[in-house]
Symmetry: C2
Subunit: 202 residues, 2 copies
DNA sequence: CCCCCATTTGACCGATCGGTACAGCCGGTG
DNA sequence: CACCGGCTGTACCGATCGGTCAAATGGGGG
């Protein structure tokens, strides 16, 4: 066991949550240090810059969620169940975060990426990569659904893109409207996009 | 005729473009003044704060685009043509802005709204209102398409929401990927969402 | 002609920004 | 015990932030 996985990990976690709550630009290094109970000296001992911390925090966060994706998209499950599980996961994460922070926060990755895409090329490209990962799971599930005869759409790639885009868009609206109700239509919309047979009007 | 519609309007225009290019947080009042050829004193003579300027700039910009929406969504046009025209408008605006600034900038409104939604309640609610306006046009066109028998979807409201969400999501991806190619699937995706008959596989 | 008032000018403010310097602390190792 | 290197604590840096202010400007109306 590692005894001191403390300050560094705390900084990563606090940074991710603070930036998700508000925005990269409006969260200061001092804010992060204060809430993490760390000193600035420690901060810059572990991370070369605020941008580097943000990057690592977001990648670390993906590693923390990835197991849940693996479980939800397990090929043991029926393809349409995986997709429904993903929709439910998105809604659950939003509901939990909203309960914790008091406001609907939307997609952490797309918020950071949108804010910095035109200013910091490294953050842009790393964010692009991170945001492409969930789509892969989705595409696989859709391909399996097609093969199983559960979806009428022809090409899994474009269908996954559309389903992912509708999810991103709804998350933007959820944040802007500060309301979870937009997400009620997420699963029906996704199911309709892929031409799901059993779920179409569930 | 008003002779001096100069400084104030210039500030509004420059502010909108700079914030769209990068982000609210990373554009300073000095930046805006510099590029508008104005002094800080003039800035604060016309606007009480940076946030107030941003708000007014974004509403002013909508007023500038609104006539184009009126034309595109004119009820003289066939419903599906209106929707196709809207998709083309979105792509044209993105292409023009990308040509001008050198980077794909996505949706100005959703970027600003996402960045500030959890921090400034007035900007959040005004942005929510602004972002609801295009959806109204869309909904009307879809309703007309249903009535004309050109669309198989049942309810125009939810269909407009989905179409709008897919557009928002694709614009986020376009910005993050710094590529216009994502938007090639915008019209097909929208047409499929509303169950358009003539355009389904165009 | 002169006054008036909207506008302009540029210096200035305190706060805060991201980042640095460096002295100490502390547990492990010889 | 001495030393060492990872981590902490804190004072500090120049730059820049959003915002203020008072004096100058200048064109239109009496």
């Amino acid at each position: 066991m590692k005894k001191p996985p403390n300050t560094r990990e705390k900084l990563l976690e606090v940074a991710f949550n603070l930036i998700w709550d508000s925005s990269y630009g409006s969260v200061s290094v001092d804010d992060i240090c204060r809430q993490a109970g760390a000193n600035k000296g420690s901060f810059y001992h572990f991370f070369p810059s605020k941008a580097a911390l943000a990057l690592e925090a977001y990648e670390e966060q993906w590693n923390r969620v990835r197991p849940e994706f693996e479980r939800i998209f397990s090929r043991n499950l029926a393809p349409l169940s995986r997709i429904a599980g993903w929709c439910a996961l998105v809604r659950r994460i939003q509901a939990e975060k909203a309960a914790e922070y008091g406001k609907v926060c939307g997609c952490a990755y797309s918020s950071l990426a949108t804010e910095l895409a035109t200013q910091d090329e490294e953050i842009r490209s790393r964010s692009e990569k991170l945001m492409s990962l969930p789509r892969k799971y989705l595409e696989e599930a859709i391909a399996d659904a097609i093969e199983a005869g559960d979806a009428t759409v022809k090409e899994p790639g474009p269908a996954a893109n559309r389903a992912y885009a509708v999810c991103l868009g709804m998350l933007v609206e959820a944040r802007v409207q500060n309301s979870l109700s937009v997400l009620e239509d997420l699963e029906p919309a996704v199911m309709e996009i892929i031409g799901a047979k059993a779920f179409a009007s569930a």
